[in-house]
């Protein structure tokens, strides 16, 4: 596939429908919005990529504290530069769509929170997570003591095998107790 022709072909459209959780309309809208982000000369080229800086200008992502992580997680570049092909973009939208399952969402949430990409949520990851949520100004940050206590509590709650980190299954287990997680973890264009 890898199409970014300014018109999305019918065959491609049905293929995308099958491979993602998105509806036809959502895919068409995604295509439109993606093409808008491309510079003029690339609008008709296939396999065009939108750099991370442009992705971050999307209004749906602009105020999201995890926007960079989102780009890095869904980008398929190596080395990872956070840029999106149309396929990457659809993968992202699919994971955050209305119909994506708890498993998919919690899987991606885990990857987004795994700042050091080592496959598990360590104290460092959790600290960064909390910082993302609390850092607005110097006085809204948690104190070292509060942070330590918070991380201890989280590990106590989630770290079942007591290895000091939260792995994917432990994370998914905790998340499954939040009945509203699926509908909250949503980004829709």
């Amino acid at each position: 596939m890898g199409t970014t022709a300014s018109q999305l072909g019918k065959a491609d459209l049905s293929e995308y429908q099958e491979l993602t959780f998105l509806t036809k309309q959502e895919i068409l809208l995604a295509h439109k919005r993606f093409t808008e982000l491309l510079p003029k000369e690339e609008k008709n080229s296939t396999n065009a990529r939108v750099p991370m800086t442009k992705i971050l200008t999307l209004p749906e992502l602009k105020s999201n504290p995890f926007k960079e992580r989102i780009c890095l997680v869904f980008s398929t570049t190596n080395p990872n530069d956070g840029s999106f092909s149309f396929d990457d973009f659809l993968d992202f939208l699919s994971a955050f769509s209305d119909s994506a399952t708890l498993e998919i969402k919690s899987h991606y949430a885990f990857r987004i929170f795994d700042f050091d990409n080592d496959g598990t949520l360590s104290c460092g990851d959790l600290e960064k997570l909390v910082d993302c949520l609390t850092y607005e100004s110097e006085d809204s940050r948690l104190t070292t003591e509060e942070m330590r206590q918070l991380i201890t509590n989280i590990l106590e709650e989630s770290d079942i095998d007591k290895d000091g980190t939260v792995n994917l299954s432990e994370f998914q287990h905790v998340i499954s107790r939040s009945p509203d997680f699926v509908s909250s973890f949503k980004i829709v264009l």
Partner: protein, 446 residues
């Protein structure tokens, strides 16, 4: 399970014995018989399974010459709605009080069981006591707070509440009747919540420390994907009425039954028209005021009945029109339609460590309505919850947080997915409205 019950029994026995002795060290003779009364009056249960116990006459109040053998009964509640069934069918005449050791959820069932009875009017007068035993100990924390004690958690809170029950002082308890779309009516004693608060995991109660405690993985994740809920909110505000001229207005509780006289102004007592209100059924009054405002046409179902009218067998929600009817003119409709959370609470604490309404009491006849509009930043929301532990959230000066004292409210969610909780229990999602019934029940409190 049985052995666990006995262990707890003796723990409680020791607990209450020592409490009694501490309070009355010299009166050993009296203490003994009183002590046995106390010992037998509360027995409990299990943390994994909820327990409800009926308690017996508090002979601590009387000098115990007759040494009445106190009766007590413990029922272990095994599944959801078990308590409700028990209470609905129980012979309440032999009991002086019902004490629950568990979380707020069990009390919710008990209250609703009582209200489902034919003799609900007497049944709901049964004094209710609560001991913090499970997750969700908001009422215990509130009662402890009303006794003007310093904040306490865990065993200290249990001790304090146990002590309050020993003292056996009973006061009025406001209940809120909640209407759901399915025409189901529930009675609530603690809160009604929608949005972020409803999502907060009750499990997190277990992890109590002073500090950033309410934030566990689930909350962080929810904060990360901070959701906005669309909906419409309207409420009947309480305006601080000037002290009424003597003799012209009924005692304050009847303010809930006055229809609105104003089209565009919020509901207010109008001293001039009141002499009639006191003497006749308000129904007549409604007609007399029709001339002055056409708003009454909207209020088709609003037939407030004065408390003296005992003809109705079911409790009437005089402030609430049918859910599919528009709200009365006297109500304030909130302009914004994007919320992070809406919380109606009628006790002081939403949880052991969430001191939500610093000056609330169990019988203030008020619903304290909080809502947070969309646009609040994550750190600001977190800060609010952190501040709430000390009751300082109102002082945060957050422009997105609004607090109003109301007597009734209606919430119509527009977002198709979400959760509404009543007293921490998830209820059917859809339009909901509620009004307060001051002092409908009775609570054992300090």
């Amino acid at each position: 399970m049985i052995s666990q019950c006995h262990i707890l029994e003796s723990v409680c026995r020791d607990l209450f014995t020592s409490v009694w002795e501490v309070k009355h060290p010299s009166k050993t003779g009296q203490a003994e018989s009183a002590e046995s009364a106390v010992q037998h009056s509360l027995y409990l249960g299990l943390s994994t399974q909820h327990c409800i116990t009926a308690s017996s006459p508090f002979s601590t109040q009387q000098t115990n010459s007759s040494n009445k053998r106190s009766k007590w009964e413990t029922s272990v509640v095994e599944h959801k709605n078990h308590a409700r069934e028990l209470v609905r069918k129980a012979d309440l005449s032999q009991w002086d009080a019902l004490v629950i050791m568990s979380g707020d959820g069990l009390l919710f069932e008990v209250i609703n069981g009582l209200m489902e009875r034919e003799d609900w009017k007497q049944a709901i007068q049964t004094p209710l006591g609560i001991l913090p035993g499970g997750s969700g100990n908001a009422l215990s924390a509130s009662i402890h707070h009303y006794s003007q004690s310093l904040p306490a958690w865990n065993e200290e809170l249990l001790l304090s509440c146990g002590f309050i029950i020993c003292k056996g002082l009973v006061g009025p308890l406001d209940l809120v009747s909640v209407h759901l779309a399915s025409t189901q009516r529930l009675f609530s004693f603690l809160s009604l919540a929608w949005g972020f608060v409803a999502d907060v995991d009750i499990e997190s109660e277990k992890y109590r420390h002073v500090g950033a405690i309410r934030f566990l993985m689930g909350t962080l994740v929810r904060l990360a994907s901070l959701r906005v809920y669309q909906g419409r909110l309207a409420y009947l505000p309480v305006k601080e009425a000037p002290k009424p001229p003597k003799g012209s207005i009924n005692h304050p509780p009847s303010t809930t039954q006055h229809p609105s006289h104003c089209l565009s102004l919020p509901c207010r007592l109008i001293p001039n028209s009141s002499p009639k209100l006191g003497s006749r059924p308000v129904r007549t009054n409604l007609n007399q005021n029709t001339v002055s405002n056409s708003s009454n046409n909207v209020i088709t179902n609003m037939r407030p009945e004065p408390k003296k009218d005992r003809k109705a067998t079911a409790l009437v929600d005089s402030l609430l029109p049918a859910l599919d009817q528009p709200v009365p003119e006297s109500w304030t409709v909130v302009k914004e339609e994007d919320f992070v959370l809406v919380l109606a609470i009628y006790q002081s604490h939403l949880a052991e460590d969430l001191w939500t309404v610093p000056e609330a009491t169990a019988d203030d006849g008020l619903i304290h309505l909080f809502y947070v509009t969309a646009g609040i930043s994550r750190p600001a929301l977190l800060r609010l919850f952190l501040a709430m532990e000390k009751g300082a959230h109102l002082a945060c000066g957050c422009p997105h947080l609004v607090y109003e004292k109301v007597r009734a409210l209606r919430l119509e969610p527009i977002s198709p997915q979400g959760m509404i909780t009543v007293d921490g229990e998830v209820v059917e999602y859809g339009p909901v409205q509620a009004q307060i019934h001051p002092g409908l029940a009775r609570l054992i409190c300090g």
